[in-house]
């Protein structure tokens, strides 16, 4: 049975849009295209027309519906809180049900439904080889985020030899009075940035927490959601729910904003968040547990690096903006500076960057002015996808700035000396 709501079930929310236009001020795509079809209000009008049978799934409609990052910026600024991101996802499921998966959608399906394939490809680093792309069909899972077009000139992280699960055991003991915490790592941290996952585990261990990282966890489902693949989203949701069913944990932590968004928002589209345990972003957890205060008590380094922060959309739109900044301000080696437009989207948007590489870059480049003016040498963020995109933006502009995950700075504070 489908766990996700159909377009029809969103009818009442679609009717809530009063066409005021406020979404225009906050849509990263509209601010590049300046077309009504790009922005929430236009997409809601199309959804309404579709429900009323006034329009078919014509080519232009598919194009406009592909132009959404699912960042949720419009939702938080909407006077009536119309959930356009969820409605666009439902529209894409409708399109998929009618016309089958797009090439990118098929890639997502191949890749995210089979962790072994992803693991194997990444291990041999073949996935990122442009040469390989010439030999594989356009429908392959390899086309996911790293299609030849989006790969051209893109900065990519060096592929680690060993993924996260090969580096740490499934369960680590901790102090007796501390609760067991679960960790949902997600694909990007598991395979591309395992050091971020290791940093999170070490941090938790430093403060005595037992950690459970179930091996049977898979992709969070955000790419499946984005490509309109309802059945795959249901399958991944079920697999992840089962993965954490084996052991009682006090929290399920995430260090990837998109995974957090997927697990807290879109799994529960039918109304009930079916994870027994709260999904908690690592920064929120560190704040709640008083760990940020303990980090703040570390002796400050004499030489500190100037660090700014980029808000990943999927944390910002859930109101998680203070905690990551509090963490950075607490770190002994960091001089935190705010940047203008910290809350602008980086433009990656999962599969968006594969479907619209030029637009994705144009959106990302809007970060540059604020970044330059901040005079920071490091931009930290709380999402591995943003890290990758930010480094690409920075390198194309030739700036001497490093993009990293906040947890890498925590790791540095705990393991290095001034």
């Amino acid at each position: 049975m489908a766990l996700q709501k159909s377009l029809e079930e969103y009818g009442p929310q679609i009717a809530q849009c009063v066409r005021c236009g406020a979404c225009q001020a906050h849509c990263p795509v509209y601010l590049e295209t300046w077309r009504e079809g790009s922005v929430a209000r236009g997409k809601i009008a199309l959804a309404a027309a579709l429900l009323e049978g006034k329009i078919d799934l014509e080519e232009r409609l598919l194009q406009e519906l592909s132009l959404c990052l699912l960042c949720g910026s419009c939702v938080t600024k909407c006077p009536n809180q119309v959930p356009t991101d969820a409605i666009v996802a439902a529209l894409r499921r409708r399109i998929t049900a009618d016309q089958g998966l797009s090439a990118i959608g098929k890639g997502v399906a191949a890749l995210t439904s089979s962790p072994n394939l992803l693991r194997g490809l990444l291990k041999s680093a073949e996935m990122l080889s442009p040469l390989l792309f010439r030999k594989i069909p356009a429908t392959s899972g390899l086309q996911l985020r790293f299609s030849p077009d989006s790969l051209k000139g893109r900065t990519l992280p060096p592929i680690p030899d060993r993924h996260l699960f090969a580096r740490i055991p499934e369960f680590l003991e901790g102090e007796a009075d501390k609760p067991v915490v679960g960790f949902f790592a997600g694909c990007a941290i598991t395979y591309l940035y395992p050091e971020v996952g290791e940093a999170l585990v070490r941090l938790l261990q430093t403060f005595g927490y037992p950690v459970f990282i179930p091996r049977s966890q898979g992709c969070c489902g955000m790419p499946a959601l984005s490509s309109g693949n309802g059945p795959l989203l249901d399958k991944l949701a079920t697999a992840n729910l089962n993965a954490f069913a084996d052991r009682k944990v006090s929290h399920i932590l995430t260090a990837c904003a998109s995974c957090h968004g997927a697990l807290t928002g879109h799994y529960a589209a039918t109304g009930n968040n079916r994870f027994d345990t709260g999904i908690v972003d690592i920064h929120v957890f560190l704040k709640q547990e008083g760990i940020i205060d303990r980090l703040a008590a570390l002796p400050k380094w004499p030489q500190r690096q100037r660090v700014t922060y980029h808000d990943p959309c999927h944390l910002r739109t859930q109101g998680i903006t203070g905690e990551p900044r509090a963490l950075l301000r607490a770190l002994p080696q960091v001089e935190f500076v705010e940047m203008e437009d910290a809350g602008l989207c980086c433009g990656l948007g999962g599969t968006f960057t594969a479907a619209h590489p030029d637009l994705s870059r144009a959106i990302g480049d809007r970060k540059l002015a604020g970044l330059r003016n901040s005079n920071a040498t490091v931009i930290a963020t709380a999402c591995p996808g943003c890290v990758m995109q930010l480094q690409d933006i920075i390198n194309r502009a030739g700036l001497p700035i490093k993009a990293i995950h906040t947890l890498e700075l925590v790791q540095q504070a705990l393991t290095e000396q001034p």
């Binding site: 066409r19 236009g21 225009q24 300046w34 078919d56």
Partner: protein, 471 residues
């Protein structure tokens, strides 16, 4: 339907990617904030004055209705293609061409977002005062077309007070230049003022020269709770009589306070029946004195509580009270009739009392708030049109409301424009000769009635337009 030849001609002017007659584009350009929907026949995105000129010339030669569109955020239907035809989208003509700090002027294209210009000039210590509530997404072209206002107009005036000159493509395809870059200019008729507020019916503005001011050094916000609406209204007059013009003088009546109270806990005394939000700006050293004088003037008028913000966050919290009204309205009823009548300042209490009476007479909730300082009241009649007989009841209530407004020496629209929404009421305010003069101007400039036809006047040569069915 437009012929293939006309579509091709449009593509020749702006490129094929900027012309679309797909259902998708027609639907996404069929509405504005009125929530009415009319399908255009084709959507065209233009990038230069010359492209606009060629498109308008084509429309005029072929007698195709055409209208300019910016953010499409108007409340009166100014950007609805009610006769079909061409929607000409100007959102990409969004360059700030010049900010002249010697002469305090800015030259902009019509697609520039109002809030963006404000941020850019404020970086240079300058100030563009008009601040419609939609300033974060509305365009200056739309502001000029509607003569937009906002809370700061009490002290600073409306859009027309800042427009020095315009480049306009006329309905017959001429590019004309009105006004200029100087404060003084009496050469010929003041066409600038004619085009400001003309709602896209006389031509398409492609460039705007705006007057800027030095940015006030500081501002201070206060919230005052009153026992009665009369007390609040007298306070408005007393402040002005006291020779103080605040930057903003916003009021909420009892209906608006109740409405917000139902949505969010509101930190106001239970006996509070009216609220004024007063802001003053200027040099730091004079502000505290101004605040003291205002508080002294209004103290005898039934003040229950005053709150003066000392930080930006406190000021923001006060404005949040005002901003929470609109979103809370829909809790009352699904359908909103949003009027923006204006009466002489001293008549605000009479008008509020009349509105209360109308609300009772027809049994419809009416929520009032807005710009007390300039008599501009946002009247929101909240109903459920699905109730039988409600449509007629609302029409009667609106008729009474506009009649009372005009009888008190006011106007049926202060800042939203006439468009289609207020067109039935224009005759209550303008006498026949005045209306005829306006229509004579319209006919002289737009002999084929192609330019945003069907707006402002109900009966402007409808025979020359190709009618289109509402979707």
């Amino acid at each position: 339907m437009l012929s293939a030849q006309i579509l091709q001609n449009l593509k020749d002017i702006v490129g094929a990617a900027n012309v679309s007659n797909s259902s998708t584009d027609r639907i996404t350009h069929s509405f504005d904030a009125t929530q009415q929907q009319f399908l255009p026949e084709v959507v065209v995105h233009a990038d230069t004055s010359e492209q606009v000129r060629r498109i308008v010339s084509l429309a005029n030669a072929e007698k195709i209705p055409i209208l300019p569109r910016g953010a499409g955020s108007g409340f009166t239907g100014g950007s609805l293609p009610i006769k079909g035809g061409i929607v000409l989208v100007l959102t990409r003509m969004n360059r700030i061409l010049e900010i002249d700090t010697d002469n305090l002027i800015a030259v902009v294209e019509p697609g520039v977002i109002t809030g963006r210009l404000q941020r850019e000039v404020e970086r240079l210590g300058l100030f563009y005062p008009p601040d419609p509530a939609s300033k974060d997404f509305c365009t200056l072209g739309g502001n000029v077309a509607e003569c937009a206002g906002g809370p700061r107009c009490v002290k600073y005036g409306v859009t027309r007070d800042y427009v020095l000159g315009l480049t306009v493509v006329t309905p017959t395809g001429e590019i004309i230049h009105t006004g200029g870059r100087t404060m003084k200019n009496v050469v010929g008729y003041d066409l600038t003022r004619l085009f400001v507020g003309s709602e896209g019916t006389l031509g398409i503005v492609t460039q705007i020269i705006l007057r800027l001011l030095p940015k006030p050094e500081a501002r201070k916000t206060m919230l005052v709770a009153f026992e009665t609406i009369d007390g609040a209204a007298q306070a408005v007059s007393a402040i002005i009589r006291g020779k103080i013009i605040p930057t903003t003088l916003e009021f909420m009546d009892e209906s608006a306070i109740d409405c917000v109270r139902q949505a969010t806990p509101l930190d106001l005394p239970p006996a509070c029946r009216a609220v004024l939000i007063i802001e003053v700006d200027g040099d730091q050293e004079v502000l505290d004195g101004q605040v003291r004088r205002i508080l002294a003037i209004i103290q005898p008028l039934g003040v229950l509580e005053t709150r003066v913000a000392t930080t930006n966050a406190e000021s923001e919290a006060i404005w949040q009270v005002r901003r929470s009204i609109s979103p809370s309205l829909r809790r009352l009823n699904p359908d909103k009739f949003n009027e923006d009548i204006v009466v002489p300042r001293s008549k605000v209490p009479d008008m509020i009392r009349a509105l209360e009476a109308i609300s009772i007479r027809y049994g419809v909730p009416i929520i009032n708030f807005g710009h007390a300082g300039d008599g501009n009241i946002h009247v929101n009649v909240m109903v459920d049109l699905k109730e039988s007989g409600m449509e007629e009841k609302v029409q009667q209530a609106l008729n009474d409301l506009f009649r009372t407004t005009v009888a008190l020496g006011g106007s049926v629209s202060g800042e939203h424009g006439i468009g289609t929404a207020k067109a039935p009421y224009i005759g209550m305010e303008l006498d026949r000769a005045t209306l005829t003069t306006m229509q004579t101007i319209k006919k002289a400039l737009d002999p084929n009635n192609i330019m945003n036809p069907g707006k402002i006047f109900l009966d402007t040569a409808p025979e020359t337009c190709t009618p289109s069915q509402p979707s």
